[in-house]
């Protein structure tokens, strides 16, 4: 286990994100810079300075050439991973709560916050994957979310759909070329915000985390709910593990709410569920505050969690984790071999 402390600041909520090779983790906190870490030992590789507000979100392109970040300073910034140079800054009227690259790294989307006079928007930019190239000022697309505020969004397989999660507990499927709304389905409890949306490797399905204390696995093609994972605490994040059929959920009440209920039940554990059977199979302790983000290593070797306590914790899975199988899974593997 590797714990990476953040530098002291007022609010420390950490949101880690792996690159595709699983060797680098990018994390953002409210302390206005992005950090890059080696996942195997927690050594800091670099920092990215330029934002002048809390940073809410970071994503890395498939070749670990560029990262994008979204901030309370109302900008999306694009950075060169290697030189830490701020390659481009796009400005908005409100804060940017989420950014995500498409699977081929040719598009970047951002979700902007709703604030008096402004609806939340999903904005899309075409990205030139060459870090030396000039990036466009023009948006390729703007989707105005006038029904319910979008909280999270991402590109599906083949960059076909933009899938968004909303404040009202629904998910939307948009045509990623035209921005046209194809479908909107209430999958979580009404008016319980969806706060995270993460993809499986080929982006044909995704997991949502919701304040209604559940996570759901949903098909991108038709928004069918495939699986539901009930928890006993409001969730902040959910991720799908490659190699094993598990999902990891993270959440917990904020300190303020805990004292009002039960001080003992902070519930600051990462919860592992079997992806297919929906059973909870284990918990991992470590944080002293709610888990803000859980992220699965794309190579399946580890996972990272970011907490309100200001730490990013990286857990490398042991043999027991990889060996764990239900009897029917063992049966299936034997049949296939």
């Amino acid at each position: 286990m590797v714990a990476m402390p953040s530098e002291p600041c007022q609010e420390l909520t950490q949101s880690p994100r792996y690159n595709l090779d699983g060797d680098i983790i990018f994390s953002v906190a409210k302390d206005q810079h992005i950090c890059a870490w080696y996942s195997h030992n927690g050594e800091r590789l670099g920092t990215y300075h330029g934002h002048v507000g809390a940073i809410w979100t970071v994503d890395v392109d498939p070749t670990t050439t560029m990262i994008a970040s979204g901030s309370a300073d109302n900008t999306i910034r694009l950075w060169d991973v290697k030189s830490a140079k701020n390659l481009k800054t796009w400005e908005f009227p409100t804060a940017v709560k989420r950014v995500e690259f498409s699977e081929d790294g040719t598009k970047l989307l951002g979700v902007t916050e709703k604030r008096m006079g402004y609806l939340s928007n999903i904005v899309v930019f075409d990205i030139n994957p060459d870090p030396a190239a000039e990036q466009t000022d023009e948006r390729a697309l703007t989707i105005v979310c006038d029904e319910s505020k979008a909280t999270v969004a991402g590109f599906s397989y083949l960059n076909r759909y933009i899938i968004a999660g909303h404040e009202d507990g629904s998910v939307s499927q948009y045509d990623a070329k035209t921005g046209e709304l194809i479908d909107n389905i209430p999958i979580h409890e009404l008016n319980q915000p969806i706060v995270d949306l993460q993809w499986n490797a080929d982006r044909t399905y995704f997991i949502t985390a919701c304040k209604d204390k559940s996570a759901k696995l949903v098909a991108a093609r038709d928004l069918t709910v495939l699986k539901t994972y009930p928890a006993d605490t409001p969730l902040n994040s959910a991720t799908i593990t490659p190699k094993k059929d598990f999902v990891i959920l993270g959440g917990g009440q904020a300190a303020m709410d805990v004292t009002r209920t039960s001080a003992r039940q902070g519930k600051f554990e990462a919860r592992f569920y079997h992806k297919i059977f929906e059973d909870e199979i284990g918990r991992v302790r470590g944080h002293f505050g709610p888990l803000n983000t859980v992220a699965a290593d794309p190579t399946g070797k580890s996972y990272a969690s970011g907490g309100e306590d200001g730490y990013v914790r990286v857990h490398h899975f042991d043999k027991g984790y990889f060996d764990f199988l239900y009897e029917v899974e063992r049966e299936r593997i034997n049949r296939m071999s």
Binding site: P62, T63, E103, D104, G105, L158, T204, I276, V328, E331
Partner: protein, 70 residues
């Protein structure tokens, strides 16, 4: 008798899991086949990342060689 009942309940659980497992993998196989077909039809490589990573590796190798020349 209780043991029998317990055993049949266990059997039902196992049977239900077997069903869930088959259902999941059937769905995955269909989805993967559909995706592979659509990628091929669009003239895209099978995997969205392999060629990108290969191209990046090549540029890094070129950069390394240039450094050696210096």
């Amino acid at each position: 008798e209780d043991a029998d009942r317990g055993a049949s309940a266990d059997l039902a659980v196992v049977e239900a899991r077997r069903h869930l497992l088959n259902e999941w993998y059937e769905w995955r196989e269909n989805m993967e086949a559909e995706l592979a077909e659509e990628r091929e039809r669009a003239g895209l490589p099978k995997d969205p990342h392999t060629h990108l990573l290969e191209a990046k590796t090549k540029t890094l190798q070129v950069a390394d060689q240039e450094q050696v020349v210096e």
